[in-house]
């Protein structure tokens, strides 16, 4: 696997504040890489640095083998970028927006016509060509934004929270587009808040307090020793009174985490205390489970917070 995007000890400081702290990863061709983390954890900063908009304070990175410190202008020609703000001109039509971005990437004449047809076929925007963007729904705007972001056939696409605030159906169909393109060999770097979106990604990185806290495929992350501390069990507790039980459970000795999941409770409990819990709630059905991605990140976050204190 040749790495298309790499970061090597990437560090970015703004004055005294370290926005990104020694982050390293390598992403292969055609991969759909999910990047998770709370707001302000440094996700957008990393994207801007990899695109050559910010010069890293320390460390380095490459895109398609080009050094981000030296080849910023060249990198821009091979990289697509789409943010939750869309970057579309609301008062222009679909067709004019596509035409503008094609022009900006220097695509003209025959090539422009061909590429335009391809994008329309991919996004299904054909019927809306002459409609102003302001009259499109959120889902269609997103498809157009993606279409404009890939108008120059980039090998790498950065998506910064691309599905924030659109409905689940539009979200799913946008992800189908990502998969289709990724199947054609386009490498995706996607930041998101949604766990279900993260679970669709081949590999996931989790950034917290400017540091990369975890990196791997979903099963790898679920097996992480940090997410399954020795001497504890991850359990699902089925009970009729989940909400009233939660408070009592959290007060019990040996219960490290507990949270409601639908009609049951997910908890991380020290294994030797499991019996005590069962004794206290005799009607509850307790069974061991594999942690969900959310469980993994919550456990990791608690550990980092404890270490930071």
């Amino acid at each position: 696997m040749t790495a298309v995007i790499t970061a090597d000890g990437l560090t970015i400081r703004f004055g005294n504040f370290t926005a990104v702290d020694h982050v390293s990863f390598a992403i292969g061709k055609g991969e759909l890489f999910g990047f998770l983390g709370p707001n302000g954890s440094g996700k957008t900063t990393i994207i801007k640095t990899l695109c050559g908009l910010l010069v890293p304070s320390e460390g380095t990175g490459t895109i398609l083998g080009m050094d981000i410190r030296k080849h910023a202008p060249e990198i821009k020609r091979h990289v697509g970028y789409m943010s939750q703000k869309f970057g579309l001109y609301e008062d222009l039509t679909v067709s004019e927006n596509m035409g503008f971005y094609a022009g900006v990437y220097g695509i003209r004449g025959e090539a422009a016509t061909r590429r335009r047809k391809e994008i329309l076929a991919l996004t299904g925007l054909e019927p809306y060509l002459d409609r102003r963007v302001s009259a499109l729904s959120g889902g269609w705007k997103q498809r157009l934004a993606l279409g404009c972001a890939i108008i120059h056939s980039p090998e790498v696409v950065f998506l910064d929270e691309p599905t924030a605030g659109i409905d689940p159906v539009a979200r799913r169909s946008l992800w189908d587009l990502f998969f289709e393109l990724s199947g054609q060999g386009v490498t995706f770097f996607v930041t998101t808040h949604y766990m279900d979106e993260a679970e669709r990604c081949g590999r996931v990185g989790y950034i917290y307090l400017s540091k990369l806290a975890a990196l791997g495929t979903i099963p790898e992350l679920q097996r992480l020793s940090e997410a399954n501390p020795a001497g504890t069990s991850r359990v699902e507790i089925e009970t009729a009174q989940a909400s009233s039980m939660l408070g009592q459970l959290r007060g019990m000795k040996g219960v490290r985490e507990a949270t409601i999941f639908g009609r049951s409770i997910h908890a991380l409990i020290e294994t030797d205390q499991l019996e005590a819990v069962q004794r206290r709630f005799p009607e509850a059905k307790i069974q061991t489970i594999v942690p969900s991605l959310e469980d993994v990140f919550v456990t990791l976050t608690y550990q980092i917070m404890k270490a930071a204190r």
Binding site: V55, S83, K85, L88, D91, L92, G103, Y105, G106
Partner: protein
């Protein structure tokens, strides 16, 4: 070289589309300067005439009436009231019903006949300095004239001044103010339009998207300047027609030279607009910054106050204001019929200022992207 301006034409074409999509904004942008020009052009008249004047004539003689008639004949004073007591005289001044009060004492005629000095009291409201100056000068002049007549009888005047006003013979205020107004109005319109257009892109996030594309800073800046430059140039032509037709200000020089020399000025104000747009985060901020450039260019550019009478410090400041140079060009060509050889230094300074402003704006823009 081509890389330096990468993306210029797509940006330029897109900007024209934006303008055509929003005809109301375009209409107001073009109509408001015209409206302001009509208002200010008619309102501003610095020639002082027909000052309301109250007269208290204690003498009530042929001589005193002759003095009052002379004053009234000057066109500066308009005798609007006759006071029959000192209280009435001062009262009218205090209430602002009269700006000038004339009191002729009871012994006026007798003193004239005796050959002793006859005095006349002239009260002037000093709250408007140019009005006061004019009132004092004119009344002194009338007194001088009467004194000379008294001394010389019907003999001829030993010295006489024959003033001849060049370039604006009727000394119409419009001829002086309207050309300057053109510079101020154009500047306001251009700076606002281009700064708002860029800041709007920042607010909506399209600027962020553009920074991810290969568009060069200068490509973006110059691409935005062309459409607004074209609009401003069209507006200038309309303004010149209105000046000529409505305000009857004759253009003594070459109109085409004027239009050509307007280009460096447009370049400069467009560059200033761009500089503002790199600093302003919101459209409201851009609006305030743009308004901030208006005051100095009204008061320190020679538009209202003469450069020659400013303290040296402010004269220095006025040399840093682009409007100063364009007003010189406008007045030079329109009023004095000046040619290229008279005015090229102004155009040269503006060209330098314009290029500097654009380069600084591009530089600030790049810095911002590097955070």
């Amino acid at each position: 070289m081509k890389g330096l301006f990468y993306g210029l034409w797509p940006v330029c074409r897109k900007e024209f589309t934006h303008i055509s999509r929003d005809p109301m904004t375009l209409f107001f942008a073009l109509a408001i300067p015209l409206l302001q020009m009509l208002l200010l052009g008619y309102a501003v008249d610095t020639n002082i005439r027909q000052i309301p004047t109250v007269v208290r004539d204690e003498s009530r003689t042929q001589e005193s009436r002759q003095f009052v008639e002379k004053l009234a004949a000057s066109d500066v004073f308009q005798i609007s009231m006759i006071a029959d007591s000192d209280d009435a005289l001062y009262g009218a001044m205090r209430a602002g019903r009269a700006r000038v009060g004339i009191k002729i004492p009871y012994d006026y005629a007798r003193r004239l006949q005796n050959g002793t000095t006859a005095t006349v009291l002239v009260l002037v409201d000093g709250s408007d300095s140019s009005l006061a100056g004019q009132a004092v000068n004119t009344s002194t002049g009338v007194a001088m004239q009467l004194s000379l007549q008294q001394l010389l009888g019907n003999g001829t005047m030993p010295v006489e001044v024959r003033p001849s006003v060049l370039y604006n013979p009727s000394t119409r205020s419009a001829n002086f103010f309207v050309p300057g107004l053109i510079a101020v109005l154009l500047q306001m319109m251009v700076i606002l339009m281009i700064a708002l257009s860029l800041v709007r892109e920042r607010e909506r996030g399209t600027l962020e998207q553009l920074t991810m594309t290969p568009v060069a800073p200068l490509g973006l800046m110059v691409g935005k300047m062309i459409p607004y430059g074209v609009l401003a140039f069209g507006e200038l032509c309309v303004i010149l027609v209105i000046m000529r037709v409505v305000f009857q200000v004759p253009i003594h020089g070459n109109v085409f030279l004027l239009l050509a020399m307007a280009l460096p000025f447009l370049l400069t104000v467009l560059g200033i607009g761009l500089m503002i747009s790199t600093k302003a985060r919101t459209q409201a901020e851009a609006f305030q910054l743009a308004m901030g450039t208006i005051l100095p260019s009204v008061f320190l550019s020679g538009y209202i106050f003469l450069l020659e009478t400013m303290p040296p410090f402010f004269r220095g400041v006025s040399r840093l204001i682009p409007t100063t140079y364009f007003i010189q060009i406008l007045r030079g060509i329109i009023l004095r019929g000046g040619g290229f050889t008279d005015l090229w230094p102004n155009a040269a300074v503006l060209t330098l200022m314009g290029c500097a402003a654009i380069l600084i704006a591009a530089r600030l823009f790049v810095k911002q992207r590097r955070a």
